[in-house]
């Protein structure tokens, strides 16, 4: 076996440039696979994290009659005494934060321009409001008792051409089905780097939002963040109470999770294409080697090397190419993923409406993807090299000796 490995190594070394290029094909294939996997994984994971952080939370407690699509503001559909409920939930050790939120709809008017918006009432002091507080581009963040201030997302501010200090008119639905109008001062412009959200959401202090929509002492939901997301089901069970519905991040983000499954299916097809190209290069290289070395194969056969062993020799060469390519592919792939993990790829506003996508996709290479793809690349390369290896093993010594 040692001799076989030595022989295989020297054979590869004989046409060094070709061997390096073939290994490079494997390396590039693997790099590409890792990159695609990391981007897709990062995109889904990023979308999920963003949605959980900004919109769904890990858990939400709502009134059992609340229907999300309707953004109902009827008292019967809302959580009563939300501060008290939130405080109670916060006593559960696994809960990092629980805060009431109010969701309403309205129309924003500036001069002659009007646009439909979502009203989000938040507790400015809650740690769950951090993404908005940290995303302030200009102006100041809200205070709980601000009666006339409003935050507006950057794309919306650009669209309506408003800036900090400007007045805007807001028409909002109320709990009894009326529409009220009130003027607000733009206190600040924020960006969560999530265009879909930022272009449609205005943020108010919870108390003001409640006053405006006539829902004082009520909230649409208690927004809950956990210390450890794996505890979701345990906490959901703990806080289950008659009259309330407890929604988990999985049930609130079904679309993202389904998209992930669909993406996995597409990814599989892309893997196949990349691997097929890589395998073709390997097959090509080895077939050329078989033709070039026909006479040598004849000599080895003449002095008694069996077909199986000749096959093993070629498979050993293929393995060396594969392993060399995989090592480089892992290094290249890892470095590229590391770069895009840190700096992301700017995609801007992709216009997704189903789920939130940041304006930058950050790659996310996980160990299980890396291991799976490495093994798949190795196996595919070896399977591809079977044909040339069998071709070599089946050469008749007499014909091979006369070959050139």
């Amino acid at each position: 076996m040692t001799q076989l490995i030595k022989l295989a190594f020297r054979n590869l070394n004989r046409n060094r440039r070709r061997s390096i290029l073939s290994a490079l094909a494997v390396a590039m294939g693997l790099t590409l696979l890792l990159f695609i996997a990391a981007v897709l994984r990062g995109e889904i994971q990023g979308s999920l994290d963003t949605t959980i952080k900004l919109v769904s939370g890990d858990l939400q407690v709502r009134s059992s009659s609340y229907v999300e699509e309707k953004s109902s503001l009827k008292w019967a559909d809302l959580v009563t005494n939300p501060d008290q409920v939130a405080a109670q939930i916060k006593t559960i050790p696994q809960v990092a934060e629980a805060t009431p939120r109010l969701y309403a709809t309205g129309i924003l008017t500036v001069g002659n321009t009007s646009t439909g918006v979502k009203l989000l009432g938040i507790d400015p002091n809650s740690s769950a409001s951090a993404p908005y507080a940290n995303g302030m581009l200009s102006g100041t963040f809200l205070t709980p008792d601000d009666q006339s201030g409003i935050l507006i997302g950057q794309p919306l501010a650009d669209k309506l051409k408003v800036a900090v200090g400007n007045q805007i008119d807001l028409y909002a639905n109320t709990s009894n089905g009326d529409v009220v109008q009130q003027s607000f001062t733009v206190r600040g412009v924020y960006s969560t780097h999530t265009p879909t959200l930022d272009e449609s959401t205005v943020v108010l202090p919870l108390a003001k939002a409640q006053a405006l929509t006539q829902t004082t002492n009520h909230a649409s939901a208690i927004f809950i963040l956990l210390k450890d997301r794996d505890q979701t089901d345990a906490v959901a069970t703990a806080i289950a109470t008659p009259g309330y519905q407890v929604l988990t991040w999985q049930s609130m983000n079904e679309l993202v999770l389904q998209t992930e499954q669909l993406a996995n299916a597409y990814m599989f097809i892309i893997y196949l294409i990349v691997l097929a190209v890589t395998a073709t290069v390997i097959v090509n290289t080895l077939i050329m080697a078989v033709f070039e070395r026909t006479r040598e194969i004849g000599i080895l056969a003449a002095i008694g090397m069996k077909g199986r062993r000749i096959m093993t020799l070629f498979l050993t060469e293929a393995s060396m190419l594969a392993v060399g390519g995989i090592v480089f592919g892992l290094i290249f792939g890892w470095l590229i993923c590391l770069y895009f993990e840190k700096f992301g790829i700017y995609v801007g506003n992709l216009g997704t409406t189903g789920f939130l996508l940041g304006d930058r996709i950050y790659a996310l290479l996980n160990a299980s993807d890396a291991v799976t793809l490495t093994l798949v690349a190795l196996v595919v390369t070896l399977i591809a090299s079977l044909y040339p290896a069998i071709l070599a093993a089946r050469l008749e010594p007499v014909e091979a000796l006369h070959g050139k």
């Binding site: 022989l7 004849g298 000599i299 003449a302 002095i303 008694g304 069996k306 010594p397 007499v398 000796l401």
Partner: protein, 230 residues
């Protein structure tokens, strides 16, 4: 003692629709210790006959015996084993593995046979000495002259103590001095170790080394001096 024998062998090649009869029914027996030349013009069937003796090819009809055993219908692996255990080859072109040194080329059949490291080292060194190439043990074929390469081939052919060494035009690509050296080395090894040689050649300078000369023409033996069979 009879080392190898063919009985009524024919070999027909078919290229497209055209059939060519390379051998038309040959009986030939090689005795232990023989130093036999197969001669005849190009296309007379020398190489084909040699390949049948070497179990590199199989006859269209007739039988091949090695050490008294009928090997005509052995499968590929069995023939490979037989070549490894009992036969040695020297080819017209210097059939060495280009990536291996002279030493490693001679060692290769021993590795295939599974010979232990000490015995391998001893055998390879002794053989390289017998072909006067100890100083070139670590040279690759492209660092050796044609004559030197052919001497490595001879050493390799003898590595596994074969019953029969088959040499196909062993001097055809050598100048006369190198050709003479190779023939003398083969002759000496034949005398010293008793190993049987069968070589194909049409070079009269080579034929003169042979104890026995078998002449082929158009796939038939036309003269067999010293073997008693025709």
């Amino acid at each position: 003692m009879e080392v190898a024998k063919v009985e009524k062998v024919t070999r027909t090649y078919k290229v497209g629709e055209v059939e060519t009869q390379a051998l038309r029914g040959i009986d030939l027996s090689i005795e232990s210790g023989d130093f036999t030349a197969l001669t005849g013009p190009s296309g007379s069937g020398k190489t084909t006959l040699l390949q049948l003796f070497g179990c590199l090819d199989q006859p269209t009809s007739g039988q091949v015996f090695i050490n008294g055993k009928d090997v005509t219908h052995l499968n590929r692996d069995q023939r490979a084993d037989l070549r490894k255990e009992t036969l040695g080859f020297v080819f017209q072109f210097f059939a060495l593995i280009p990536t291996l040194t002279a030493y490693e080329n001679v060692e290769m059949p021993l590795l295939l046979k599974g010979v232990g490291a000490d015995e391998r080292r001893e055998t390879v060194n002794r053989l390289l000495e017998s072909v006067d190439l100890v100083d070139h043990a670590n040279h690759r074929p492209d660092q050796l002259s044609g004559g030197q390469q052919q001497r490595v081939s001879v050493a390799r052919a003898l590595a596994t103590h074969p019953s029969l060494v088959l040499a196909d035009e062993p001097t055809a690509n050598l100048d006369s001095e190198n050709g003479r050296q190779v023939m003398e080395i083969m002759q000496n090894l034949n005398k010293e170790t008793g190993v049987t040689f069968l070589f194909a050649t049409h070079d009269p300078r080579v034929i003169k080394y042979a104890q026995k000369v078998v002449t082929l023409r158009d796939g038939l033996i036309v003269e067999n001096n010293g073997n008693g069979k025709k």
